[in-house]
C-alpha cells in the first residue's frame, strides 16, 4: 500500500538543490532541440528582433531624420552634441515566455511511489525550461512577477523571485491578466481546481491571443488511488476530509472522476489552442521538458502524449 506524506513548507521553495537539479536537467536537454528551435525562429521570423522596432529594450541611437515627430528625439542623448538623436528600441517580435509554477499546498505532496514531490518536480522542470529557453535566445519571465528577460543566470533570478513571493504559495491559478499575442505561457501545475475555473483562467490569459502550454503534474497515488480498507481522506489545503468506508470500492469511482477531470482540463486547453502535458512524478523529469521543448520548436499544439 502506498504511503504518502506532505512535505514541509521549505519543500515548496526553489532551494539550492532544486536549482542544481534544474540546471542539470537543462544541461541534459539535447542541444539539437534548441538548434531546431533556432532554425525555426529564423524561418518564421519570430526571432527577427535584431533590429529596431516596437519594444521596450534599448536598441540604438540614430540620427534624427527631418520630418520625424519631434517627440521621438531623445533629448538626453542629443544634449551631448549638436545633432539630434532618436532612441530606437529593439523590436520585440520575439515571444517572451511567461512561466508560472504552482506552489499551492497541494503541490507539497509525495507518495512512496513517486521519486519527488510535485512541488519539487514542478520547480525543477520550470527552472530547467527557463534555462534552456534563455540559452536558445528566448526571454523568460514569471507570470505576474518578473518581466521576461534573457539573463544568463535566469534560473537563479527566477528562484529568487519565487522565494520572495509569499502570496504565490496560496494561489492555485495564475493571475488572469491577458497577455500580448507574442507571449507564450508555460503553466506547471497539478490543476487540482475545478475544471471550469481552470478553463476560464486560461481563456482570460489568452484573451489577446497569447499561446500557452500546461504541464500537469500528477502524483501516481492521485491517479491510481491504491488504497483499500477504511480511510479518512484529508485535504491538504483546506479543512475538508472525507471518510471512505471501503477505499477499494470508492477508488473505482474516484479514478473515473479523476480521469474526467483530466479530460476536462485537457479539453479546456486544446480549445484555446494550448498544449497540455501530463507528467507523473514517478517518471523522469526529462520527459515533460523534452516534450514541451518539442512543442515549442514545432510551433504546434499536439495532442497529449504519454509524457
Amino acid at each position: 500500500m502506498a504511503k504518502v506524506r506532505v512535505v514541509d513548507e521549505a519543500g515548496r521553495q526553489p532551494g539550492r538543490p532544486v536549482q542544481a537539479l534544474a540546471l542539470e536537467l537543462a544541461a541534459r536537454l539535447p542541444h539539437m532541440m534548441l538548434e531546431a528551435r533556432r532554425v525555426l525562429a529564423a524561418v518564421s521570423g519570430v526571432h527577427g528582433r535584431r533590429r529596431a522596432g516596437p519594444g521596450e529594450a534599448f536598441w540604438q541611437f540614430r540620427a534624427f531624420a527631418p520630418g520625424e515627430a519631434a517627440q521621438r528625439v531623445d533629448w538626453r542623448r542629443s544634449a551631448r552634441d549638436d545633432r539630434l538623436y532618436v532612441r530606437e528600441r529593439e523590436w520585440e517580435a520575439a515571444h517572451s515566455v511567461h512561466l508560472w509554477i504552482d506552489r499551492s499546498a497541494s503541490m507539497a505532496y509525495q507518495s512512496s511511489l513517486a521519486s519527488a514531490s510535485k512541488a519539487e518536480r514542478a520547480l525543477v522542470i520550470g527552472l530547467a525550461l527557463a534555462d534552456a529557453l534563455v540559452d536558445a535566445g528566448e526571454r523568460v519571465g514569471l507570470l505576474g512577477l518578473l518581466p521576461p528577460r534573457s539573463s544568463r543566470r535566469i534560473a537563479e533570478r527566477l528562484a529568487e523571485t519565487i522565494l520572495l513571493d509569499d502570496a504565490g504559495r496560496d494561489r492555485d491559478l495564475p493571475p488572469g491578466d491577458a497577455l500580448p499575442p507574442q507571449a507564450e505561457v508555460i503553466m506547471i501545475t497539478d490543476a487540482l481546481v475545478p475544471a471550469a475555473d481552470f478553463t476560464a483562467r486560461i481563456a482570460g490569459i489568452s484573451a489577446r491571443g497569447a499561446r500557452g502550454h500546461v504541464i500537469r503534474i500528477v502524483d501516481p497515488v492521485e491517479e491510481l488511488f491504491p488504497f483499500d480498507g477504511e480511510a479518512v481522506l484529508e485535504d491538504v489545503e483546506g479543512r475538508l476530509d472525507l471518510r471512505v468506508g471501503d477505499a477499494r470500492s470508492w477508488g473505482a469511482l474516484y479514478r473515473e472522476r479523476f480521469q474526467a477531470h483530466g479530460r476536462a482540463i485537457a479539453d479546456g486547453c486544446l480549445k484555446r489552442g494550448w498544449s497540455i502535458t501530463t507528467h507523473r512524478t514517478d517518471r523522469p523529469a526529462t520527459e515533460p521538458a523534452l516534450r514541451l521543448l518539442g512543442i515549442l520548436a514545432g510551433g504546434g499544439v499536439q495532442r497529449q502524449g504519454a509524457a
Partner: protein, 934 residues
C-alpha cells in the same frame, strides 16, 4: 480418562464468562480499528463523490480471532487452571490433615523438596476443603489447631530448618491430644529419617501417630551427611563425616575456612562400603590448621554439616619463664630468646615477668597451656603445687637444663639427674661434640629426622634407671638422653638436658629445634583455656554468630540465650549452633557433638504407609495463560499501530531495533572472541649480523645522511676520534659504522653522530620512533648543524637549523640549555670549557640540568641520566677527521690548538655517554683527600 481429566479449574465458575465471548465478538466486529488518515490533495475536485457505502469495512477476521483469543485466555487464567492436580493419596478420611514435618538440622539438605511436598499437600487439602494442622518437630511445642489451608500455607512458608536437632518426642502429647479431639484427622508425616544414634529419637511420636496410621513421606534411606568433629591432631586436621546408614552417598568434600569465611583447604572423605563414618584429612601447616574456624560439607547446606571450631583446638598459649636474671642487656644471650622465636610461628608466647615463681603463677592465671621453664631451679611450694596440678590437668611443662636446674631439685622433671654436667669436646675433654641420634619411634619426635649439624657440647646427665629408656625422647649418638619426657596425669613433663640458649649446644639455632618444640606443644592435651572450675564461675557467653538451619552464619535471633562456658552439649533451641562469647576465646556450639553418630529412624513404628518425598507434578497454568494473553495483547497493539498508518514510523523503529540487535550481537561476538595474546604478535625479526657485531664491541656510530661528502666527513671524523680514544683512554672502540635509523638497531650504540644536511628528506615516522626509543633508552645523539660561522645569536635561523627543527618537531626533546661551564660533560675526561670543532663560535646545547640549590657550590653538576641530545654547530667530525695516515683532513678555523681541543671535547663526549654522571663524584676526591689530611 484422558488428558482432559488432568486439567481442573480451581474456580470453574469463572468459566461461565466464556459464554460472553459471542457478545464480545459482535462488539469487536462493529468497532473496527481507527481508520487511517490519508492526506489527499485531489479531494477538493472529488468532494461531491459521496462514498457508496458508508458502513466501514469489518474488523479483519484475524484481528477478531486475536482479540477473542486474548479474552478467552484471560477468562481461562481467572478460572485457575491446574494441570494434573494432586489429590491427597489419603485414606479417604475427610477430616483435617495433620501435617507433621521434620525441620531439624538434619532436614536442611533437601528442605526445598520437603517444602514443595508439604505445599502440594496443603494445596490438595485446600482443594478438598479440609483444614490443615501443621506441626514442625523442631519448633517449640504448642497448641495444635486445625487452620484454614491458606493460613497453614503461610505458616509453612515461614518454616525453616533449625540449627539444632528436632526433639520429636516433645510433640507427641500434643499430637495425641489432637488426634483424640479430631477423630477424622488424617496424619501426614514428612520425615527426615534420621535420629542421633543411641537415643530414642521418635519413639513417643511414633506411638502417638500409630494411633491413627496415616502416610509417612520419607526418602528411601536416611540421606543427610553430617560433620561431627574437626580434630586438630598432630598429624593434621581431621574432619569426621557421618551418615545414618549407607545411602549411596559414598563421599563428601569438606571445606575448611578461616574466621573470615575464606576457604583454606578442601579434603575428600570417602565412606568405606557399609561404613557410616569417614574422615577427611587436611594436610595443612600447623599455622593454617590453627586458623581453621569452620568446616563444612560442600553442597550439603545444612547446619548439621557445619562444625565451628573455637579456640579450644586453636593456638596454644605458651608461657615462658627464665631463671636467668632479667637485666639482660643483650637479648641474644637470653635463654628465652631462642625458645620464643622457635615457638612464635605456631603458639601464643607469653613471657613471664618478675621472679620465677611469680611469673609461673601469673602465666597459670593466664591459662597458658604450655609452660616453658628455661633453667629455672627452685620454685616456691605453692607454685610447684599449682604447676603439678596444671600438668595433671593436661598441661605441658617443658624445662631446659642449666646451671640452676642442675643445682636444684624438684620432682617436676621426668628423670633423676646426676649432679654436675658433662662437657664434651671442651679443652679438658677428649670427646668430640656429639650429634643427636635418630629419634626413638615411641617418642613425640618420631616423625622428625635429626640433622648432623646439631652438636651438643654439654649436657646434664640422668641417673640411669629402669625407666630411662622409655622416657628418653631424644638421645645423643652415645645413647645419653638429651630430651626426656614423661606423661603425668593428663599432661606431660619434658626436659631438655641442655640450655635454651646456644651456649651448650647449637640445637636452639637449628630448624630441628622449632620442629621439636612444635611437637611438644602439640602434645599438650590441655587446650581449654581455663579450668573447669574457673569456667563454671565465668559469666555466661552471649551468642555472637549463630548459624541458621542451612549452616549460614548470621546474627543471633532473639530466642538465643547466653550459654555457660562449660556448655558442652548439642545445640538446643535456646542455644542454637553458633559462636558464643567474644571474638577471642569464643565458645563454639555445634549441632552435633564429636561423639555423636546418626542412626536411621524406624519408620515402621509409625504404622502408616511410607511414600517417597516427591513433590507433586501439578502445574499451575494461570501464569502461562496470563503471559500468553499479554503477549497477544502486545501483538494486537502492534497490529493496530500498523493498521492505523503508523507503518512508516514503525518501519523506522524496526530498522533501529534491528540495528541495536545487530550491534548487541557484534558486541557479544567481540566479547566472546578469543582475546589477543602475545603469541599473536608477529615473531621478532632475527637479529642482524651487523647488530650482533655492534653489540659485541662498543663502537661509535654516525647517521648516514645520503650526502656523500657529509658521510665521508662523519666516517673520517669518527675514525679519528676512535683512534684518539684508543691512544689516550682505556676505551678502544671498534670501527665506526654508519647507521640508518629507519633500518638499523640503534640500541647497541652509546653515541650517534648526526650531521644535519639541508635538503635531505626528514626521517620517517618509524625512524623517529626508533630515535625516540634510543634517546629514552639512555643513548646520546649529537646533532651537528655544521653552520656555526653563519649563525648569529638572535638572528634568522640558518637552513640547517630549520632542517633540524623540522626533524625534531615530533620528537620528545627535553628542555635544553647551552652547555654550562660546570656541566659534567666538561669534566668527563679532560677539563675543557666548551666543545669546539672545525668552528669554535657555535654554542653547544644540551639537556638542561636541574637548578642548583642555593648556597651549594659544586665543581660539576649532572642530572640523573645523561643528556639524550647534544646539539652543536661546530662541525665536530670535520675537526676529528683524519686520513689513513693520521693526518687531518679539514682545516680548522683557529689554530691547531683548536683541533686538539676538539679532539678532547670528542673524548669527553664519548666518556660522558659511557660513564654518565660518575665524574661528578670523582671531582670530590680532592677535597676528600684534603680533609683526610693527606
Amino acid at each position: 480418562m484422558g488428558a482432559l481429566s488432568a486439567l481442573v479449574f480451581t474456580a470453574p465458575a469463572v468459566l461461565a464468562a466464556l459464554a460472553a465471548l459471542p457478545v464480545l465478538w459482535w462488539l469487536l466486529r462493529v468497532t473496527p480499528p481507527r481508520p487511517r488518515r490519508v492526506p489527499f490533495p485531489p479531494l477538493r475536485i472529488v468532494m461531491d463523490l459521496i462514498p457508496e457505502r458508508q458502513t466501514p469495512s469489518r474488523t479483519p477476521w484475524w484481528l477478531l480471532a486475536l482479540r477473542l483469543a486474548i479474552a478467552g485466555l484471560a477468562i481461562l487464567a481467572a478460572a485457575g487452571p491446574l494441570w494434573q492436580p494432586e489429590a491427597l493419596p489419603g485414606t479417604g478420611a475427610r477430616g483435617p490433615v495433620l501435617l507433621v514435618i521434620d525441620n531439624g538440622a538434619t532436614s536442611a539438605h533437601d528442605w526445598p523438596d520437603r517444602l514443595r511436598l508439604a505445599t502440594s499437600r496443603i494445596e490438595a487439602a485446600a482443594r478438598e476443603r479440609r483444614a490443615v494442622a501443621l506441626v514442625a518437630t523442631a519448633d517449640p511445642t504448642g497448641e495444635i489447631a486445625p487452620l484454614a489451608p491458606d493460613a497453614a500455607l503461610e505458616r509453612l512458608q515461614a518454616l525453616v530448618p533449625t540449627p539444632y536437632l528436632a526433639d520429636r518426642n516433645a510433640h507427641a502429647p500434643g499430637i495425641a491430644a489432637f488426634l483424640q479431639r479430631q477423630p477424622a484427622a488424617e496424619p501426614v508425616y514428612i520425615s527426615d529419617r534420621v535420629q542421633a544414634a543411641g537415643q530414642d529419637g521418635a519413639g513417643a511420636l511414633a506411638a502417638a501417630l500409630r494411633a491413627r496410621p496415616g502416610i509417612v513421606h520419607a526418602a528411601p534411606s536416611a540421606m543427610p551427611l553430617a560433620l561431627v568433629e574437626v580434630a586438630n591432631r598432630a598429624d593434621g586436621l581431621v574432619a569426621r563425616v557421618v551418615r545414618a546408614e549407607p545411602n549411596g552417598r559414598e563421599g563428601a568434600t569438606v571445606i575448611a575456612s578461616d574466621a573470615r569465611g575464606l576457604p583454606l583447604s578442601r579434603a575428600e572423605a570417602r565412606f568405606a562400603p557399609g561404613a557410616t563414618e569417614a574422615e577427611a584429612r587436611f594436610d595443612l601447616p600447623l599455622e593454617l590448621r590453627n586458623a581453621v574456624a569452620r568446616a563444612e560439607i560442600e553442597g550439603e547446606r545444612s547446619a548439621a554439616a557445619v562444625t565451628l571450631v573455637d579456640d579450644r583446638s586453636r593456638r596454644r598459649r605458651v608461657g615462658l619463664v627464665s631463671g636467668a636474671s632479667s637485666d639482660l642487656a643483650q637479648p641474644l644471650l637470653s635463654p628465652t630468646y631462642y625458645v620464643g622465636r622457635a615457638l612464635a610461628p605456631f603458639a601464643d608466647v607469653r613471657e613471664g615477668r618478675g621472679g620465677a615463681s611469680e611469673a609461673v603463677s601469673r602465666l597459670l592465671d593466664e591459662n597458658a597451656s604450655v609452660i616453658v621453664l628455661a633453667d629455672v631451679g627452685a620454685l616456691d611450694r605453692e607454685v610447684t603445687d599449682r604447676l603439678t596440678r596444671f600438668v595433671q590437668d593436661g598441661g605441658m611443662l617443658i624445662r631446659f637444663a642449666g646451671t640452676r636446674l642442675a643445682a636444684a631439685g624438684d620432682d617436676l622433671i621426668p628423670v633423676r639427674l646426676r649432679r654436675g654436667g658433662r662437657s664434651l669436646g671442651g679443652s679438658l675433654s677428649w670427646d668430640a661434640p656429639k650429634t643427636i641420634a635418630a629419634f626413638p619411634a615411641t617418642g613425640p619426635f618420631a616423625a622428625l629426622r635429626p640433622t648432623r649439624e646439631v652438636m651438643v657440647r654439654r649436657q646434664i646427665l640422668a641417673e640411669p634407671d629402669a625407666q630411662i629408656t622409655a622416657r628418653t625422647w631424644a638421645a645423643l649418638d652415645d645413647g645419653t638422653p638429651i630430651v626426656t619426657g614423661e606423661r603425668r596425669g593428663q599432661g606431660h613433663v619434658a626436659l631438655f638436658h641442655m640450655t635454651a640458649d646456644p651456649s651448650w649446644s647449637n640445637l636452639p639455632l637449628s630448624g630441628l629445634f622449632v620442629d621439636m618444640l612444635r611437637e611438644l606443644v602439640n602434645l599438650s592435651g590441655r587446650t581449654a583455656p581455663g579450668t573447669q572450675e574457673a569456667d563454671a564461675q565465668a559469666p555466661p557467653l552471649s551468642p555472637r554468630v549463630v548459624l541458621d538451619g542451612f549452616g549460614t552464619a548470621g546474627s543471633p535471633p532473639a530466642t538465643a540465650k547466653p550459654a555457660p562456658r562449660t556448655y558442652a552439649t548439642r545445640a538446643e533451641p535456646d542455644h542454637p549452633a553458633g559462636l558464643y562469647g567474644p571474638a577471642e576465646g569464643s565458645l563454639a556450639v555445634n549441632v552435633l557433638l564429636a561423639s555423636d553418630r546418626l542412626a536411621p529412624l524406624d519408620l515402621s513404628a509409625f504404622g502408616g504407609t511410607v511414600a517417597p518425598i516427591v513433590a507433586g507434578t501439578s502445574v499451575d497454568l494461570r501464569g502461562p495463560a496470563l503471559a500468553a494473553a499479554l503477549g497477544l495483547l502486545v501483538v494486537d497493539t502492534l497490529l493496530l499501530a500498523i493498521l492505523g498508518g503508523l507503518g512508516a514510523g514503525i518501519g523506522r523503529r524496526r530498522a533501529a531495533a534491528a540495528a541495536v540487535l545487530a550491534f548487541a550481537l557484534v558486541l557479544s561476538g567481540a566479547a566472546f572472541a578469543p582475546p589477543a595474546t602475545a603469541q599473536d604478535a608477529a615473531p621478532r625479526p632475527p637479529v642482524r649480523k651487523e647488530d650482533l657485531q655492534a653489540a659485541f664491541q662498543t663502537r661509535l656510530a654516525y647517521v648516514v645522511t645520503g650526502d656523500a661528502q657529509a658521510d665521508a666527513a662523519s666516517r673520517a671524523g669518527l675514525q679519528g676520534l676512535t683512534a684518539a680514544l684508543a691512544v689516550r683512554t682505556a676505551f678502544e672502540p671498534g670501527d665506526p659504522v654508519g647507521v640508518d635509523p629507519a633500518r638499523d638497531e640503534l640500541s647497541v650504540y652509546p653515541l650517534i653522530y648526526w650531521p644535519v644536511v639541508v635538503g635531505r628528506p626528514l626521517p620517517t615516522d618509524a625512524a623517529l620512533r626508533r630515535i625516540d626509543a634510543f634517546m629514552k633508552g639512555g643513548g646520546t645523539i649529537v646533532f651537528d648543524t655544521r653552520d656555526a660561522p653563519s649563525t648569529r645569536p638572535g638572528g634568522e635561523p640558518t637552513p640547517a637549523t630549520i632542517q633540524l627543527r623540522r626533524m625534531l618537531a615530533t620528537l620528545d626533546i627535553p628542555e635544553l640549555e647551552t652547555l654550562p661551564r660546570d656541566h659534567v660533560l666538561t669534566k668527563a675526561f679532560y677539563l675543557i670549557d666548551e666543545l669546539p670543532g672545525r668552528h669554535a663560535a657555535g654554542r653547544t646545547w644540551i639537556e638542561a640540568l636541574p637548578p642548583v640549590p642555593d648556597g651549594e657550590e659544586r665543581p660539576a653538576r649532572a642530572g640523573d641520566g645523561i643528556s639524550p641530545i647534544v646539539i652543536t654547530g661546530n662541525d665536530l667530525a670535520a675537526a676529528w677527521a683524519v686520513d689513513r695516515d693520521g693526518n687531518a683532513l679539514y682545516p680548522v678555523s683557529g689554530t691547531e690548538r683548536q683541533r686538539e681541543m676538539a679532539m678532547r671535547g670528542g673524548i669527553n663526549l664519548v666518556m660522558y655517554a659511557l660513564t654518565g654522571n660518575y665524574k661528578t663524584d670523582q671531582v670530590h676526591v680532592g677535597p676528600l683527600l684534603e680533609r683526610l689530611g693527606q
